[in-house]
């Protein structure tokens, strides 16, 4: 009896309280907010870690961006906005960056977030003993002595980062890097609490032990099932945070995820391949597709042990010209992707896509030119070229490969053998140049063209084509220190389009189903898709 009275009282209290909550409005936009502010989304796979210096996958980084906060964050459009850093200054030659940290930033255990926490984290990232797979990011950031520290030749204290005082962080670079601040949104640069790591070792990231400085705390983690994070009251901007709870559910099967989305269990899920056209018809308010900072391409083996015919630039050009990108994008993939004639996506910040000549031709012109080049190289339909194209096992890659092989066959008479390989086997084959043509994809680590173009540098570990061109190397090296590197990037793209060591095919699009009450706050214009739960909100329907 007592219980039911209590329950009734509680119920009426809640009923009274909810109109007040419902009356909540967004502090900036003034939109009416929903009562329930829980964001539930699907992830494909279990994340690798929530340790900022250890995490290496996209879904793990999404969680880390909620739990920790670095020097800078990104806004809805991908622009830098203050995180723990309020501002920064740099010297004239842009080799020393000094960040001023906010004084009200706190860890979840109440300690202040200091410059020392960043120094510790960055040293930890570079320390060989940490064995982070993102160790190399310190070199991308061009931090002084990163290489020597990583190889163990110098102590971690030699790394070019130091705390001037608790709220001033000074970073020294090997050489000028005008876009340095952009690199600080990467999760591997987020601060970590030394005292918690010292106390708990590898278990410090377990919900019971973890100390965070982000907008959310980790409250539950069941591997391969769910991860829950809830509002962190100690976060400096907690007052403006609207989403109370974020739940990520591991659902391996994308079609099942879509069914569960339709049943109302999820607020966001990926659109399964090929279903965007029908979903955008049936659920126009929810199906969304937007450009991503990623390129899909075929890499051609031009290494020393490559077959002779691939060393012939005419063959490479012909193969590229004969691919009808419009058909691949509009008919095969149908998910909002854009055709690619150059490597760097047009969505990249401060980058104008150069018009390489073949991008302006009609497909008929391209095919004609391709056939002419091929016969110049000594191949035609009576003496066809035999090529093997490898791709990692996936329905989408298979579809593209079949389409491309048909295009090559029709336009050039090329006989293509398609070969799919299991992922790691594929990476091994491609990495050891035991292939002729291989599927490849690349997503930018930061929003600047060099994250793509560095791949065609002769020394790059990701240059699976083993393409080497001194002029390209020189242009890219100079670009690092230029205030406006666009002319160099344009030149590099033109050289690639002429030499064709890689065949750009399309630029990726992200396509999601997002609930109508949430979609307004989703950062669709952030091409890196670095989203922060603290900036999301659900509006009242």
């Amino acid at each position: 009896m007592t219980y039911s009275i209590k329950a009734a009282l509680l119920g009426s209290a809640l009923a009274l309280a909810s109109p007040a909550l419902a009356a909540g409005t967004h502090p900036v936009t003034g939109e009416k907010l929903a009562d329930e502010q829980t964001f539930t989304y699907r992830v494909l796979d279990e994340h690798t870690s929530v340790d900022p210096q250890i995490v290496e996958d996209v879904s793990g980084s999404e969680i880390v961006r909620d739990l920790f906060e670095g020097l800078y964050n990104q806004d809805k459009d991908g622009n830098l906005v203050p995180g723990v850093a309020e501002s920064h200054t740099t010297n004239d030659d842009k080799t020393v960056y000094t960040f001023t940290l906010r004084k009200d930033a706190k860890w979840s255990d109440g300690k202040s977030v200091t410059a020392g926490d960043f120094v510790y984290a960055w040293q930890r990232l570079a320390d060989p003993a940490t064995a982070s797979e993102y160790q190399w990011y310190m070199e991308v950031m061009n931090i002084k002595n990163a290489g020597a520290v990583m190889s163990g030749d110098a102590p971690v204290t030699d790394l070019g980062v130091k705390a001037i005082d608790d709220h001033t962080l000074e970073v020294t670079l090997e050489s000028s890097l005008p876009y340095f601040a952009l690199t600080t949104t990467h999760t591997s640069t987020f601060p970590t609490p030394k005292w918690a790591i010292d106390a708990h070792g590898a278990d410090w990231i377990k919900p019971a032990n973890i100390v965070v400085n982000g907008a959310y705390k980790l409250t539950e983690h069941v591997a391969n099932e769910r991860l829950v994070r809830e509002r962190n009251d100690m976060y400096w901007d907690n007052g403006n945070t609207i989403i109370d709870k974020v739940v990520s559910l591991v659902i391996n099967d994308e079609n099942v995820a879509l069914t569960r989305y339709m049943a109302g269990e999820l607020d966001r899920t990926e659109i399964p391949a090929g279903q965007y056209p029908s979903l955008s018809q049936s659920n126009p308010d929810e199906a969304t597709a937007f450009p991503r900072l990623c390129s899909y391409y075929y890499t051609i083996n031009v290494s020393d042990n490559a077959p002779e015919f691939l060393k012939d630039v005419r063959v490479r050009q012909a193969l590229s010209y004969a691919i009808n990108r419009d058909i691949i994008v509009d008919k095969v993939l149908q998910g909002g992707q854009t055709p690619a004639y150059t490597f760097t996506p047009g969505a990249t910040a401060n980058f104008a896509v150069p018009s390489v000549d073949y991008s302006g031709w009609t497909q008929a012109e391209r095919n004609e030119k391709a056939a002419a080049l091929m016969s110049e190289a000594g191949y035609d339909k009576s003496n066809p070229l035999d090529i093997t194209l490898i791709y990692n096992t996936s329905e989408a890659h298979k579809k593209v490969a079949i389409a491309v092989s048909q295009m090559w066959k029709q336009a050039l008479g090329v006989k293509v053998t398609l070969e799919n390989q299991e992922w790691k086997t594929f990476l091994n084959t491609r990495g050891e140049q035991n292939y002729e043509i291989a599927r490849a994809g690349w997503c930018g680590d930061y929003n600047e063209a060099s994250t793509f173009l560095d791949l065609v540098q002769s020394g790059s570990g990701y240059n699976d084509a083993k393409y080497a061109n001194d002029m390209v190397d020189g242009l890219l090296k100079d670009a690092k220190t230029m205030d406006n590197p666009q002319p160099n990037y344009t030149k590099v793209e033109e050289i690639i389009a002429a030499d064709m060591p890689i065949i750009p095919i399309y630029h990726y699009a992200g396509s999601f189903m997002i609930k109508p009450d949430l979609i307004g706050s989703w950062p669709v214009k952030n091409v890196e898709q670095n989203w922060y739960s603290k900036d999301l909100y659900k509006v009242a329907e």
Partner: protein, 317 residues
């Protein structure tokens, strides 16, 4: 009394013998899977972004992967024997293989055991009923249902279940485990047990039919024994023999986890980890789970043999 002791002694010897064989079997399994894993191209740290040589060297040093293969295997075995430590996961870096088993195995065991019990009960009853009422509508129904259930693979059935019970009817959550709530268990159990259920029903039916036609049953009928006595006292035991030999592998199959169930329902069991560890070249996870599942297979085959001998005294252990 003497006979019972003698039997107990025999049983003890049998178990001892089986364990003596199990240990070398496990060792061979361990070496074979370790060797196969190492021969597969690529390693745990092969990725779309090849690591710089220095970074890779640091990581391999941390995990002892820079040691010769035999030393890696030896260290691994020593770790298990001395500390019951199955090593770290190279992929999921914030947990060890022990963590993965501790969390995933209870999940798998729960839905596996429930599926097993359900498959035996429903399958057994359906099979017996069909045999006793052979060529009746009940028989046709049972045969029809079991054939249907057997040809419908669980990767087809699971999404259909979600479609019906989650999207259309809204009765059950479409996946997850939620600490083992009954709503979350129902669909995985149905998807996992159905084909086993069908096999058990068909096995029970055919074996029961065979027994019912045998001479000793005919004699029992001639003596005028009631049907119930004939079936439960005389026919059931011999009819169950072929079913029991099927139950061992079936039980192992169900409790060692199902990749499909874990992948589709997001239950968090070890089946998904096991298959993915091979794709990820997550050596320690794969070895740990191989040892666990290998031991269980050996154990349950032994249990089946013992059951067999108990039911049929003609069989010597």
């Amino acid at each position: 009394m003497v006979a019972a002791l003698l039997h107990g002694d025999k049983m003890f010897n049998f178990i001892l013998r089986r364990i003596a064989v199990a240990i070398p079997t496990l060792i061979i399994l361990l070496i074979a899977s370790f060797w196969l894993m190492q021969t597969a191209p690529g390693g745990p740290f092969t990725s779309e972004r090849p690591l710089p040589a220095q970074v890779l060297a640091n990581i391999e040093a941390k995990y002892g992967l820079d040691q010769p293969i035999y030393k890696q295997l030896w260290d691994y075995v020593v770790g298990i024997v001395t500390q019951f430590d199955f090593g770290p996961s190279y992929k999921y870096k914030d947990r060890s293989v022990n963590d993965i088993i501790a969390q995933g195995f209870p999940v798998t065991l729960t839905y596996g055991v429930i599926s097993f019990v359900l498959a035996i009960i429903v399958g057994g009853i359906l099979g017996m009923a069909a045999a006793i009422r052979q060529n009746s509508w009940l028989d046709y129904f049972a045969v029809g249902v079991t054939i249907g259930a057997q040809v419908l693979p669980n990767f087809v059935m699971a999404p259909i279940l979600i479609l019906i019970f989650t999207l259309w009817l809204g009765w059950l959550p479409g996946g997850g485990w939620n600490g083992g709530q009954w709503e979350n268990i129902i669909m995985p159990v149905i998807a996992l047990s159905t084909s086993y259920m069908a096999s058990i029903a068909r096995l029970t039916r055919s074996s029961m039919l065979e027994v019912l036609r045998s001479n000793f049953i005919r004699t029992a009928r001639a003596k005028g024994l009631p049907d119930r006595t004939i079936i439960f006292r005389h026919a059931l035991k011999p009819a169950l023999l072929p079913v029991i030999s099927y139950l061992g592998p079936a039980f192992v199959g169900m409790v060692t986890g199902s990749f499909i169930i874990d992948a589709i329902f997001g239950t968090g069991g070890i089946g998904y980890f096991y298959v993915n560890s091979a794709f990820n070249r997550d050596y320690a996870v794969m070895m740990g789970l191989t040892i666990l599942l290998g031991s269980m297979t050996i154990l349950f085959n032994m249990v089946v043999d013992i059951l067999y001998a108990w039911i049929d005294p003609k069989i010597r252990l």
